[in-house]
Symmetry: C2
Subunit: 330 residues, 2 copies
Amino acid sequence: MKIIRCPFALLAIILVGVTTTQAQDPLPSWNDGKAKQSIVDFVAKVTKEGSPDFVPPAERIATFDNDGTLWAEQPMYFQLLFTLDRVKSLVPQHPEWKEREPFASLLKSDLKGVLAGGEKALMEIMAGTHAGMTTEEFEKIVKDWLATAKHPTTKRPYTEMVYQPMLELLAYLRANGFKTFIASGGGIEFMRAFAEKVYGIPPEQVIGSSSKLKFELREGKPVLVKLPEIDFIDDKDGKPVGIQQHIGRRPIAAFGNSDGDLQMLQWTAAGPGARFCLYVHHTDAVREWAYDRKSHIGQLDKGLDEAAAKGWTVVNMKDDWKTIFPPETK
Amino acid sequence: MKIIRCPFALLAIILVGVTTTQAQDPLPSWNDGKAKQSIVDFVAKVTKEGSPDFVPPAERIATFDNDGTLWAEQPMYFQLLFTLDRVKSLVPQHPEWKEREPFASLLKSDLKGVLAGGEKALMEIMAGTHAGMTTEEFEKIVKDWLATAKHPTTKRPYTEMVYQPMLELLAYLRANGFKTFIASGGGIEFMRAFAEKVYGIPPEQVIGSSSKLKFELREGKPVLVKLPEIDFIDDKDGKPVGIQQHIGRRPIAAFGNSDGDLQMLQWTAAGPGARFCLYVHHTDAVREWAYDRKSHIGQLDKGLDEAAAKGWTVVNMKDDWKTIFPPETK
C-alpha cells in the first residue's frame, strides 16, 4: 500500500470518489522468480507500518556497488578505459610515457602489464592523469569523455551500459522511501559526474575511492586541487568504513557483484531487524558477459559461497533479467 | 508562496473551499532587522521559479558549523568537556594519567596546559579516550553522557545549549527545499549522536573531524573499530575539502562563527549565482558570552574583516536574537 503523505489526498479521494488504479509492475525488466520475489517481499515488510519488520524511512539506507552492479565492467573497468584515453591524449605532453611503465603497458591496452606493477603503478597512472587539476576541471573532463566515448565492443555510450533492471530497482526503492547510495571502488569524482543524471543518485549519495584535495586561492579565487595522493580506497574492508564515514548509519540493504563487495554485504547483514543482501551474478555470455570465480575483473568467489550459506539473493542475469541494457537513444 | 507538492491538494482546496491562512513568521526568535531580512530575501529569490536567481532544490545545499554556530562553545568546546569526563572516568584504569601530560593538565581543567602540547597532545587524549572501541560502543558512550551531563555554568543539558534562532533557521531552510548539513571541526561520530534528534540533521548530513576506522570480525560479527589515528580534520582549509568529499557539490549558503569557518564561507561565496554567507557574532555577555578577535575558542578576527569587505551577513546576537536558548524541558 502506498503511504499517503498529503492529508488533502484522502479528502480529495473521499470527495470526488477518485480510486487508485491497480499498481503497475515496478520491476518490468525482472522475470518472475525467486530473485524478484525476494526484493518485493523485503520492501513490503520493511514499509508496512505496525509490522515487526517495519523500518522508519530515515533508516531505509540502501547501498549499491557501481562497476558490475549498476553498469558493466567488461572488458575492463570503464574508469580504466577513461584513464587509457587520458593517457593517450596526454602523451604529446609526456612522450616519455611511451617507454615508461606502467604507461607503456596501458598504451598497449595490456592490463596485465599494468597490474603487474601493483598499487604503485595504479598510483602513478592516477597521479599522471587524475591529479593537478581542480575538481571542477576534472568533472568537465569526465563529462566530455562520457559524451563522446564509446564502449569498445558494443559501441554504445558508457552511460547506456547500465543495467535496466537495476535502474528500475533504484526507482522502486526510492518510491518506497529508501535513500539510495553508491558505495564503489570507482573514483568518487568520476562517478559523481554521471550518477545523478543516469541513476538519479545525487553527488552527496556517492561514496567511492578518492584522492586528497587541497584548498587554495588561485588569483584570489578559491579552488580545490586534486593531489596525486590516495585519500581512501573504497573496496573490500574499505566499503563498510566508507559507508560509516559518509552515512554514519548501517544500510538495511546492499547490492554488489564481486568479492570486493563482500564486507559491505556482511556489515549490512549483521545489523538488527530485516536485512537484504543481493549479488548480481554475471551468467549471460550472450547478452552481456559470463564470469565469476576466476575473473580478474569482478571476481565473485567467496561471495558466491557466502551468499549460498547465508541465503542472500543471487541474481542469475541470464534467467532473472528480461532485458539487460536500456533501449538505445539516438 | 508554498509550493503545492500534492496534486490532490489543489483539488481539495477548490472542492471544499479551504483557504491557506496567513503564513506564520518562520523565524519568531529573530528580531526584525538587517540580518533576518537578508535571510528571508535570499530564500525568497532562490526559491522563486523563473527568477534569474532560482536554484533547483537538488542544489540548495546549506552547511553549518556546529560549535558556536548551532550550539554554544564556552567555557570550552563541549566535546572537550566530554573528553575531560571520559579521562576522569578512565583514571582508575590509567593512574599514570594523573602525572602525565596532557592528561594531568586536562584533569586540572587547565585548557592552556593541554593546548601547550599542540596537536600531539590532542591526539594523545583522543587516542586514550575516543579509540579502541567500536563505532556503536562510542555512540552509546556519547548518548549516555549527553543524557546526564550538565553545562558547568548554566547547569542545563548540553543539548539545550543550542541556539533557538538557528533551530528555526534550519527548519525554515528545509521547508524551502534546502538540504542542511553540518560541517564542523567537532568529531563526526560525536555530533551524529545528537544531530538528528536536536537539529533534525540525519547522520549522512554530518561532516566532521574523524579518526580512522578498521573493519574486523569479532567472534564472527563484523564491527568497525575506532583507531587512535586522525583520518581528517574538518577545520579551516579542511572545511571545503570535507564538503567536497562528502557532498560533491558547492553549498549556496554557509553559516559559521569563527575564523575556522572562513574558507567554507569563501568557497561558498565564490560559486556562480546567488550566494549567502553568515557569521554569528557572539556579542551578548549577559545571555550568552561575548568574544571575537582575541578569543582562544571561536576566534573571529579575519572573518569579521572579510564579512565587512564582502557584505556578508553578521548576526549581532545581542540585538538580532530575541531569545538565545530554547525553553528548559523538565
